[in-house]
Symmetry: C2
């Protein structure tokens, strides 16, 4: 059974939406997707570092559209691991696990990985929104489109714009 490593932030958890919301509260105006396209989150949102260390930021992130249904179906024919580079933000670890338990109840604790560097991940397919995670991965790589990566050339990675597209490739 092929193994898929699925990223959390920017793939199943819509943290970009969280950045837009928190930034709008701080600056009184919601930025548009066009305004931040291709810009790193820490540059697009001046208080980004404050947000990612604040209680509730990860716990209240919206679920990426269609991800629940499609990960549930993938979970029937692949070995799924949810892999989040989260140890930079230790306070986020229980929040992220609670979030998974709430929104992806079919993912059990054996399928969760919190790490720093994803070079440690042994899998066949990786779905991620960061080139730094995909670039070193020897297997099949899907780059999930997010505002911060829109101006990158996907290079050797296949760009996917939605979970529907992922389903059409993997299911």
């Amino acid at each position: 059974m092929e193994r898929i490593a699925i990223d959390m932030d920017g793939v199943i958890a819509d943290v970009a939406e969280q950045f837009f919301r928190y930034d709008a509260i701080d600056f009184g105006k919601r930025k548009s997707r066009e305004e931040v396209a291709g810009i790193k989150e820490r540059d697009a949102f001046p208080n980004a570092r404050k947000y990612v260390y604040s209680k509730g930021f990860f716990r209240t992130a919206p679920v990426m559209e269609q991800s629940q249904e499609i990960v549930r179906r993938l979970n029937e024919s692949y070995e799924i691991f949810i892999v989040s580079a989260a140890t930079e933000f230790p306070q986020s670890l229980p929040e992220k696990q609670e979030w998974l338990t709430e929104h992806f109840p079919f993912i059990n604790w054996q399928q969760i990985v919190f790490c720093g560097l994803k070079t440690i991940v042994n899998a066949d397919i990786m779905i991620d929104d960061h080139l730094k995670n995909l670039d070193h991965f020897p297997g099949t790589t899907l780059l999930f489109s997010q505002p911060h990566n829109l101006h990158f050339n996907g290079g050797k990675h296949k760009r996917v714009n939605s979970w529907e597209e992922i389903a059409s490739i993997l299911l």
Copy 2:
């Protein structure tokens, strides 16, 4: 540079000692190492499951003898990851990371992995006290002696009884 995946509980964190202490408080008498040799922790210590879910159990675990100095030296000539199967106990995640920051300050967040199944780990050498983690690992495996594994035959895994022995093999 070769990569080593080092387990936490029973390898650098002396959780067996924690079980002895917590059990002695509950039952008024400290068990001997001989009494629990070769017995799974959940069988040797009737309240083991209560302990591992209790606040502070992992945070206050003693450091395994000589592990700090030898991991520090290994960290100079190997790529070290501390890999703990911890997602079964979500409350332990921040405790474990705090523990590492206190006792192994030279290990940064990029080198920490919290997971459920260790099949996800991509490394060359694995040091662990559980056969279930070592058995599927394709690289070099060192079985760290702990009371619960003393009656197992190490099989294809090299048994090590101390960090000094690990140093003599890897340094």
